[in-house]
């Protein structure tokens, strides 16, 4: 574990060294992401200008929810997005070769080697927005509840990463350069809204099959104290099932890897 942390320390150092060379990209990214975050909050503000209740949630709760989404998105964009983006290209071009000969997990390397240092400032904004939403939330909660909630959001980030990877892994079989990522982008916006606005069929679909609801909706429901035992058990067990399924597919994919001619 310590060795992997040390390796990640190198990844961070390398990523920042690289990012600082490209100043324009660094500043442009800040404005682009900030506009995206604000537009997400704005949509909820518009909705709540017409109603005081959205599927049982107050405006305060909805703002905590969307701030959690922004935090989740910021974490994903900083830690995983670049790596996931390049993943199918790596497989298609046979760039996995060297990773498979090293005595470290190739999955660790491929998933985390590049930290998006140019979106780091935006991660700080996301943390700021989340802090603002939490401090404006008037219902009482303890520090341990808040820490548990942050942990569940991080768990959501991991689920989001696995979902992306599952849409990319078919590349090992199809050799297509981008996998099925287009499909995921279409579904991406589902997680931006509370699961309670979905009908029952879609709620099951997006909880158990394509678990977008586990990313933010479930942690938020737990934080707001809704059916804590039922939602908690479902979230924990489904995270384990999902992880195991992903690792199983990953091992199958590595067997399938055919590299590319030299």
């Amino acid at each position: 574990m310590l060795r992997y942390l040390k390796l990640y320390g190198y990844f961070l150092r390398f990523s920042f060294t690289k990012a600082l060379e490209f100043r324009f990209d660094f500043t442009f990214r800040i404005f682009m992401d900030l506009a995206y975050h604000l537009s997400n909050i704005f949509i909820f503000k518009i909705i709540f200008s017409h109603t005081t209740n959205l599927a049982g949630w107050t405006e305060e709760q909805a703002i905590v929810f969307i701030a959690s989404y922004i935090l989740c998105d910021g974490l994903y964009m900083s830690f995983f997005a670049n790596n996931c983006w390049w993943f199918p290209v790596f497989i298609n071009k046979g760039e996995l070769d060297y990773y498979l000969t090293r005595p470290v997990s190739p999955l660790f390397f491929l998933s985390l080697r590049e930290f998006a240092a140019n979106s780091f400032i935006n991660l700080l904004f996301a943390i700021g927005i989340f802090t603002w939403a939490i401090t404006n939330y008037s219902s009482p909660f303890s520090i341990s509840q808040l820490l548990a909630y942050i942990f569940l959001i991080i768990n959501g980030v991991v689920i989001y990463y696995i979902l992306h990877m599952l849409f990319y892994l078919p590349v090992f079989w199809t050799q297509s350069p981008r996998g099925f990522e287009g499909l995921l982008y279409g579904l991406d916006s589902i997680m931006k809204y509370p699961d309670k606005i979905q009908n029952l069929l879609f709620r099951y679909l997006f909880t158990l099959l394509i678990p977008l609801n586990l990313i933010i909706s479930f942690p938020a429901k737990l934080f707001f104290g809704e059916d804590v035992i039922y939602n908690g058990v479902l979230l924990a067990s489904w995270t384990i099932v999902f992880w195991s399924f992903f690792l199983w597919i990953w091992s199958k994919a590595l067997k399938q890897y055919s590299s590319a001619s030299s």
Binding site: L7, T17, E95, D97, Y98, P103, S259, S262
Partner: protein, 329 residues
């Protein structure tokens, strides 16, 4: 030790007719076929030995190297490298293994090579003492110590290959796969890499498998070669033997007047129909058995005005080319 027995690898490939029409057709129906990249390959390599793998593009050399280094799975057959099955990807094996592919970079492009070396130090858990000792040894041997702090993208191709070699050898691997390590390098860099590898083998005694299209690499570094053709090994033995078997041949090289080019082509085709001939403008090369060379030279001098005449031994690259073309066993 490397031990390979009856190794086979086939790839499923589809063929598509050209053009948009072909692409549309392939969307619904694809013609798949299996290509045997390796067909019943067996061989053994001992520590301290450099085996040269030689063959045309697509013959199966890189596929064999990729199976031995655990990158891809074989279709069938047995492989043991240092007692490990490579595609089980045991970390104890991967710590002793090294691979360099001349056409693929492993170092971080935008960073100085030394930064990547630090990362490799963590990956292979190299002690501080060994790390700095190896950095000194490798950078001095390869004469590249002045470029440790330059971003890799700013290095010349030759320098880049040298730092790639350093990265490959930092952890004192016991088995090294070198897949075209001198590809694209100028003559001086090629020589530097070759002499370094020869010295490294002498001092560290690893198992090395080398593939290269440059016959000089093979000739200078390998006592033993394996010739691969269409996925099968058609010769596995000392490089000297294959050369000696062909030394019964010599080539007559000469020049004729421009006005004689057509006439001499007809003459040689009629007189020596079975023998290999090469015509480049007025420069001509004719390959013959040693005992026929004297008579043939006499006849040429009688019928044509000959200039710059010389009689040479066939060089090893030509020998191997012929062997691969005619599949003589």
């Amino acid at each position: 030790m490397i031990k390979v027995e009856n190794l086979c690898k086939s790839f499923k490939i589809y063929q598509k007719p050209p053009g948009l029409k072909g692409s549309l057709k392939a969307l619904f129906k694809r013609d798949y076929f299996y290509k045997n990249a390796l067909d019943n390959v067996s061989l053994q390599v001992e520590p301290g030995e450099i085996l040269g793998l030689v063959g045309a593009n697509g013959a199966g050399k890189t596929t064999l190297v990729k199976i031995l280094s655990g990158i891809i799975y074989p279709t069938s057959g047995e492989v043991s490298v240092l007692g490990y099955n490579p595609w089980k990807r045991d970390n104890r094996y991967r710590k002793q293994l090294s691979l360099i592919m001349g056409q693929k970079a492993q170092l971080w492009w935008d960073l100085p090579a030394f930064d990547s070396f630090l990362l490799l130090k963590e990956i292979y858990q190299i002690s501080d003492k060994n790390f700095y000792k190896n950095i000194d040894y490798l950078s001095n041997s390869l004469n590249i110590s002045h470029q440790m702090k330059t971003p890799v993208r700013k290095l010349s191709l030759g320098e880049r290959m040298k730092v790639e070699l350093m990265a490959t050898l930092l952890h004192d691997p016991k088995v090294i796969f070198l897949d075209e390590p001198t590809i694209g390098l100028d003559l001086m860099s090629q020589r530097a890499v070759r002499s370094f590898l020869a010295q490294y083998r002498k001092e560290k005694n690893p198992i090395i498998i080398l593939t290269s299209h440059y016959m000089q690499d093979i000739e200078e570094l390998c006592r033993r070669i394996a010739l691969i053709k269409n996925g099968s090994i058609i010769y596995d033995g000392p490089i000297d033997k294959i050369h000696k078997d062909y030394s019964q041949f010599q080539s007559i090289n000469f020049e004729v007047l421009d006005s004689d080019i057509g006439r001499i082509q007809n003459f040689l085709i009629q007189k020596f129909p079975e023998n290999e001939k090469e015509f480049i403008d007025n420069k001509i090369k004719l390959r013959l058995k040693k005992e026929l060379v004297g008579e043939a030279t006499k006849e040429l001098l009688e019928h044509f005005s000959i200039d710059n005449l010389s009689i040479n031994q066939i060089d090893i690259s030509k020998v191997i080319e012929n062997y691969l073309q005619h599949d003589q066993t």
